[in-house]
């Protein structure tokens, strides 16, 4: 009885948030419209890393590599193929992120805990250095700029994006990703990932092939992070090595911790919270906004490890 009513409550909440996000670009001024669209993209990236951090218990400090390779993959498609094609950008981006994911997946099966965290960090730095120094191909420090592809369904329509339709498109992709990931995490596969997080040796002892599960988790996480990269590239029409730099990975981890790991929506909320904080604080503090944000983050790691969402949930249940 209670589970049914809470499930109903969940879907009502989901519908309300979805409706608000859909209406947002119609009523918000230009600046905030962009802002909400960006939250969606970063939210997708945060969600993808939650598969590893929250569900499988592997902290990736290298998610910027997936995201960045997604961006550069999209850039490759948009710069080399005429006319620019949205779907091809997505395919290229996913291939780029997928290649990194294969590498990281290979290591994920051998390394645990901090070793995995440090190695993913180092991996993303390798890609950063390559992209930063390989100027002929990647544009080096300045990155690459390109045109935005139109929204096209071959043989049917091909219309350029307006900010509003782009927002809807991104919203669609993020929502579909969320629903898919939620299904996966609630499936037996997702349960095994959580079992690995709780107790890896026991999960292995029961007879699960832990390595295979981890590989799939990393691939899944990498591909969705790459998808977020593609969306970001399409929205902003440029790419730069900064997006491969580990600070992005750090921000993704912050989103997860702030929002609440292992909930998928938590990290999206964390991304929103972080970006709003940054927006609000950087008006007065410029780049020093990271001082209060860093303090808040550290305090949350220590005193509120379940994140904002977990904290609110507990409060409401009391």
């Amino acid at each position: 009885m209670t589970t049914r009513s809470s499930a109903a409550g969940y879907w009502i909440g989901f519908g309300v948030v979805l409706a608000l996000l859909a209406v947002a670009p119609l009523v918000l001024p230009e600046f905030w419209r962009r802002f909400v669209t960006e939250i969606l993209v970063w939210g997708l990236l945060a969600m993808s890393s939650d598969i590893l951090i929250g569900y499988t218990g592997m902290v990736s400090f290298g998610h910027s590599a997936f995201f960045g390779l997604g961006m550069y993959g999209a850039a490759a498609a948009l710069l080399t193929v005429r006319p620019p094609n949205l779907w091809l950008a997505i395919v290229y981006g996913l291939v780029g992120a997928g290649l990194v994911a294969v590498f990281v997946a290979y290591f994920s099966t051998r390394l645990r805990d901090i070793y995995f965290a440090i190695t993913t960090l180092v991996f993303s730095q390798i890609f950063y250095v390559i992209i930063f120094t390989w100027t002929e191909v990647t544009g080096g420090e300045n990155g690459l700029t390109f045109r935005q592809p139109p929204f096209a369904i071959p043989g049917l329509v091909s219309v350029p994006f307006t900010p509003v339709t782009l927002h809807w498109f991104i919203l669609g992709v993020v929502v579909v990703s969320y629903v898919v990931l939620r299904r996966i995490m609630q499936s037996p596969f997702g349960k095994v990932l959580q079992a690995i997080r709780e107790n890896e040796p026991r999960t292995r002892a029961i007879g699960y092939h832990v390595e295979r599960y981890k590989i799939v988790a990393v691939m899944l996480s990498g591909l969705f992070a790459g998808l977020a990269g593609v969306l970001y590239a399409v929205q902003n029409k440029f790419t730069a090595p900064d997006f491969v730099f580990f600070l992005i990975s750090g921000e993704v981890v912050i989103f997860n911790v702030m929002g609440g790991m292992g909930t998928l929506v938590g990290p999206v909320a964390g991304a929103a919270f972080f970006l709003v904080l940054r927006e609000g604080l950087s008006r007065f503090w410029t780049e020093y906004y990271l001082i209060p944000v860093g303090l808040i983050f550290t305090a949350m790691v220590i005193f509120m490890p379940q994140g904002l969402l977990g904290f609110l949930k507990r409060r409401l249940n009391q």
């Binding site: 901090i114 180092v122 250095v129 001082i291 860093g294 790691v301 220590i302 005193f303």
Partner: protein
Amino acid sequence: MAIPFDQILIQTVNGLVNGMILALVASGLTLIFGIMDIVNFAHGELVMLGGFTGATALAVTGSFWLALVAAVLTIALLGALLQATALRPLVGRDPLTTILATFGISLVLQKYALWQWGPSARKLQEPITGQFNLFYLEYPWYRVLTALLAAGIIGALYLFLRYGKYGIWIRAATQDRIMAQAMGIPVPLVHAVVFGIGASMAAASGVLFGPLGGVTQTMGADFTLRAFIVVVVGGMGNLGGSILASILISLIEAYASLVVSPAQAVIASFVVLILTQLFRPTGLFVPTPK
């Protein structure tokens, strides 16, 4: 592509000097990890803060050596305070949690430095300006002195740990925190002191590095990353291993920069880390546990 022999020798000296500075950073990191399972992501920021504090003290006092002492003491105090306030609740928790918390702290420290000292680099004036001939190069004595000083500080740390009551306390608390407490050792105090020692070693490398590479508010991440690599390659919590790994990594980077740009030479050390992880996950310099 033959590389002249003298260039290789020069790079060997460079690698050794850089390796000793890195060893100073990494031994603090590994000491802290060994005793309280804290993976200190903010360690490089302590190097950076040490460098800036030294620069300020140098401007005030005019003496490099006074500046070195001032920076070491200040950052030791800062480290002990950080441990006692922010990190104490994390002792004994999952090391991953400690990475996250210290990552937050690193953001705060870096932006604080930006606020306090601004975005531009400070170059410290070296205390001795003499040079000697190394093949076609005029090689500064200061670099050699740096390596010797770093070695001296690490040696002092070793003696401190090896002999005397506090060394025994630190090693006992490293091996078995609970039993150390049951024997009456004030472990929380030991933790704060060890964090202070690790921080002061980071600060010393920041000051020593000041005349070589300059001090900037963004230099911390680079030091953190290198120190991480060294500590993993040398074996987590293994002091001797970290020192050897520092030298190994720095030599490899120095040689690699003969053929590629220094920015790309970093990749060489990344590759060493990854190979170590694949073939000797417990570190290059530890016997694989039986």
